[in-house]
Structures are given as structure tokens and as C-alpha cells.
Symmetry: C2
Subunit: 70 residues, 2 copies
């Protein structure tokens, strides 16, 4: 299942990589796609929204909830 979340504060490829790493640190099997322009992160895997929130916020970005189920 893939879920798309709104994440703000990501402005470059380094940010995208950082958010991706924070999420895959919690689930090595997760597939993560960052859309910088849209400010969204799609996560395909078994992580809960709370786990994704923890990862995103722990990396220093703002988690703004679910954007859409993809």
C-alpha cells in the first residue's frame, strides 16, 4: 500500500535523500518517492503514518498529514 504524505521544508535533493533515509531506517523494505515541487513523500510499505511522522520530524522536516492514498 502506498500513501502520500505532505511534508514541508524539503527544498533540495539533499533534503529528499535525508527524508528517504530516515524512513528507510525504520523500514528497509519501504519504497519512498519524494516530490520536492509538490512537497509530498509517497511511502510504499508497512509503516504507519505515525512512524512516517516520527521519521520526517526526526530528520527536521514538517509532517503535515496524509495527502492521498496513491
Amino acid at each position: 500500500m502506498s500513501t502520500k504524505y505532505k511534508v514541508s521544508g524539503m527544498t533540495c535533493g539533499g533534503c529528499a535523500r535525508s527524508v528517504t533515509n530516515a524512513i528507510t531506517a525504520k523500514d528497509g523494505q519501504a519504497k519512498v518517492e519524494v516530490d520536492l515541487a509538490a512537497g509530498t513523500v509517497a511511502v510504499d510499505g508497512s509503516l504507519s503514518a505515525d512512524a512516517v511522522k516520527d521519521a520526517v520530524e526526526g530528520a527536521g522536516f514538517d509532517f503535515d498529514g496524509v495527502a492521498a492514498a496513491a
Copy 2:
């Protein structure tokens, strides 16, 4: 004691915040100063270079060793 490390891949304030958070997650007392232009991270605290390396790499950036004791 403050030590300055070379870190590459940081290009914006989001990257700087991400690296800072990754380091302070390991030591909440650490003081971290990122210089984006220089590509350095100064860490004042008790963390070993290996711990800083783990934090930086875990956040998705490249740790290039000690730049200087500050």
C-alpha cells in the same frame, strides 16, 4: 571540545537542519554549527567522530573526516 568535520552533500537550510537533528538525536546536549558554504559541521559535545559519522551518513550525507579541532 568542539571538532569540525567535513560533510558533503548539504546544499540548503533543510540539509543543515537534518544533519543537526541527526547529531542532536545522539546527544541532546551537543551544539552543532553547519557551514554550508564550507561544507563543514562543527560539533561541540561528547560525541566521538564515529558517532558523528553514523549520524551524518544515516541522514544521507557524506562524512569526509575531521576538518579541524576548533
